[in-house]
Subunit: 282 residues, 4 copies
């Protein structure tokens, strides 16, 4: 996926005036028509997703099935036209097509066409809800974007530790599931190792559906320790994310810049630059 | 909603002596009668809510239904009189009526009257439990109020990040629910997309009722990842709230500035600047 | 409850030599016999609790009921003798009787006697497991005791905020339960307001038994928000406890004591006492 | 268990050239053949575990049972040869045999042989998934190893507090379970104290299977408080782990002490004392 710099594209000389106008309306939200277009698009997405969801309800499908079907095709055709226009009005259509939003825009229309051959797949068109992310751009929610950045940054820095953590959890649930399969056996609902591993995940994550639960005293005693383990394990990702989230806060505190070497990152109570030893101004 | 400054109202000259006396009893908790009134009110609220709750239990309703009914009407009439008195004894009745407690006081009596036409609605009168918040004022729990402020402040500052977080969770459960609907299908309890989304929420939040649970191996494998995802996701709001809660601690401490060396970061109980030893002003 | 200073009691002149010897064995763990006594006691407690637990299992009760019964009476009589001896060998028996361990020691033997009249109550004798706390004293687990102190101190400082938090949760579950009772009604398992409140607690705490779960679309949509709320709410006590736990760490850093006013609590980077303004020694 | 220093072993003079060559292939991942061996091994482990898991599924076992059986024996024989070679090519076979990976390597092949006498035990061979930990060594994931160290260190320092915490939880669930057994009784599914304790664990850890749930109003009211308690209790391990995780961050920063003013608390990248401006020694 390639992050597309729209401005760059816009000022590429190869675009004809028509392309530029369409581009201004479809890709920008600064002009009146751009805003009208974006808001209309959000409403259409919302309607389209809602109708797909309602269409899956049997009682509603029987009553309004053909109406829903018509709507969905109208939306799909509109989104297809929009997608083609987007491809048409950018200087590098391929760049757009493989960008994050380009892929989502394509994925949003494909399921309906594929649904002609595999009817169930058409429900996948609800993924066009992902197009809602454009809302951040439309309302110039830079502040929100910043918040997202902080969250994402925290998560990124935790990703390695969370990855290892997941790896360990995976191995633990596999071992726990296998032991449980031997303890409880098929007659108590633990019909196979995959099922037992599924039970282990359901238990360790404290979801606890209850569709499978230990019946023998030994199995229940074993579950006892698994649940206490899960108790401790749930603390780990929380600890990781929390401790990562506290790091940027400390960075913010250090606002001073050394007047001699211009380096930042001094503690609030520092009197001398810790890099060059010159006194800091208050 | 308008935050009402009671003192301001009290000293408004337009109030007659009777109004003032009633105001002192109903709105203040400094005088003996004021305290008696407030305690009586809390007891009545407690009794009223308890009776409404018990009235909803079938076995008790059959036995004591008419007694409960009488009680509820007595309470409702008493609360109505109180509400009218409150409106009468304040200088700006409209201000009171649209204040936080004014709305709650009204909502506490409305359900019974509406219940004459829609019987079930009368159970909504349990919302008069919200009037319990007056308890903070009655017992002069300023310290508690401060604690609440810290909590509320922490939450307020996290609200944006939690908002974005909720937005993402909403999109995730929608996509997850739809995929699950296609994987499992109506024959395994995932009768529609809304139901599947409901399942996704129940799973991601680790509630796990078990009324709907994946039956196919593919669905269970998919659930595996959703649950691990939920594991990670539950860490995020915790991280947000915890990191926000750690900020006020520091903020509260650092309010004073040394008048001599202008350094900040003194504890609330510091009398002398810890950097230059000069006395701090209070 | 009164915290008993054992040393004080021991050196009270009114104790006869026999009382002192018994006291040394029963209350102290420094002498050989004292250790033997304490270890024997822990073993007896463990056996007694295990037997009570096993006695409650039907299949075992039928086979070994009379044996279990005999054991339990032997244990009860032994613990009764021990309790009487404890009362006998302390200078202020009443002080002991109302101390934390004095009450637990009494509670540990009472259920069996009460069980003569109300058979089920005898199972309450498992609370003698609380006597296990003596284990900390026996093994001189001062380090553990310190750890417990840190935990308890953190919790104590959080208790007010957790109290308010519980108060709010109580009000929320009451309102949520009532609304759910009106939405779902008795035909979907929400048979009364107390049951609906119970459901609200089960859902908000993410326990999710599934014995009661929303059936109507409106109820499920409402649950959606309750669960997301629970998601956020679960973050609050975690945030409170975590932020409190981080405070003692900072306190520990402040080891300096002002040589003039002898007050402690100075920051690590303080040069002058913040209470009296005198310079601190490094 | 003894941590084995492979290098030390390798350079022990008692190894013959053949042993050294085998050692280089089996224990090292630096040479081409060493890498080929390790990757082959990981693939074999993965296949072996997958086949054992699939073998436990009834429908697959009926179809492909004999094929799975053959595969498992091939894998077991290969792993046995590998284990014997490992023992052969190290200078101190006993040291290897009792090292962490030595035990796992043995445990990975034993279940199949034991399975000849106790068929169910052969499923325990999935514990050979633990051999996956070698993956860290293979891909030189030193960075990951460091991350694991931080995690493990945090957990180690929390282990005491978590131990005490578990001890308390154990006592709480025992008491809660017993009280619940008396309240609900066998007719509501709480058939014995162990079962009730199991219910208490399932509830406190917010797993909530729902196979046992309170039926009487008193039991539900009691559960109410247990769940709120669990709410608070789940916060404790999280708080412990999080606060421990935040310490290394600070510890890493504060290692240097200024040689002139003896003040500590300098960042890892500080070259000059931030209090007196004198250069810091590295």
């Amino acid at each position: 996926m390639v992050k597309l710099n729209y401005n760059e594209i816009r000022h590429t000389p190869s675009l004809s005036p028509i392309q530029r106008n369409i581009h201004d309306i479809i890709f920008e939200a600064d002009t009146l028509w751009g805003k009208v277009f974006d808001i209309t698009l959000l409403i259409l997405i919302f309607l389209s997703v809602t109708i797909t969801a309602l269409d899956s309800v049997d009682s509603l499908n029987i009553k309004y099935g053909s109406f829903f079907n018509t709507c969905e095709w109208v939306f799909t055709i509109l989104f297809t036209i929009e997608y083609v226009l987007r491809l048409y009005c950018v200087a590098k259509p391929f760049h757009y097509a493989i960008s994050f939003f380009g892929i989502i825009d394509l994925v949003a229309i494909l399921p309906n066409y594929v649904g002609l051959f595999f009817p169930d797949v058409r429900f996948l068109s609800v993924v066009r809800i992902l197009r809602f992310f454009r809302v951040f751009r439309l309302f110039k929610l830079v502040h929100f974007t910043h918040e997202v950045d902080v969250l994402v940054e925290s998560l990124k820095r935790s990703i390695k530790r969370i990855g290892i953590f997941t790896f360990y959890v995976f191995i633990i649930v596999f071992c726990v599931g296998s032991v449980m399969y031997i303890i409880e056996g098929p007659e108590n609902g633990f019909t196979s190792i995959p099922i037992s591993v599924y039970w282990a995940v359901v238990t360790l994550t404290t979801v606890g559906y209850g569709d499978i639960s230990p019946k023998t005293p030994l199995g229940q005693a074993f579950s006892f320790f698994i649940m206490l383990l899960g108790y401790g394990i749930i603390a780990i990702p929380t600890g990781i994310v929390t401790s990562e989230m506290l790091i940027p806060k400390k960075k913010v505190i250090t606002t001073q810049s050394c007047p001699f070497c211009c380096r930042e990152g001094h503690d609030a109570d520092a009197k001398y630059c810790k890099y060059c030893g010159k006194p800091l101004e208050d």
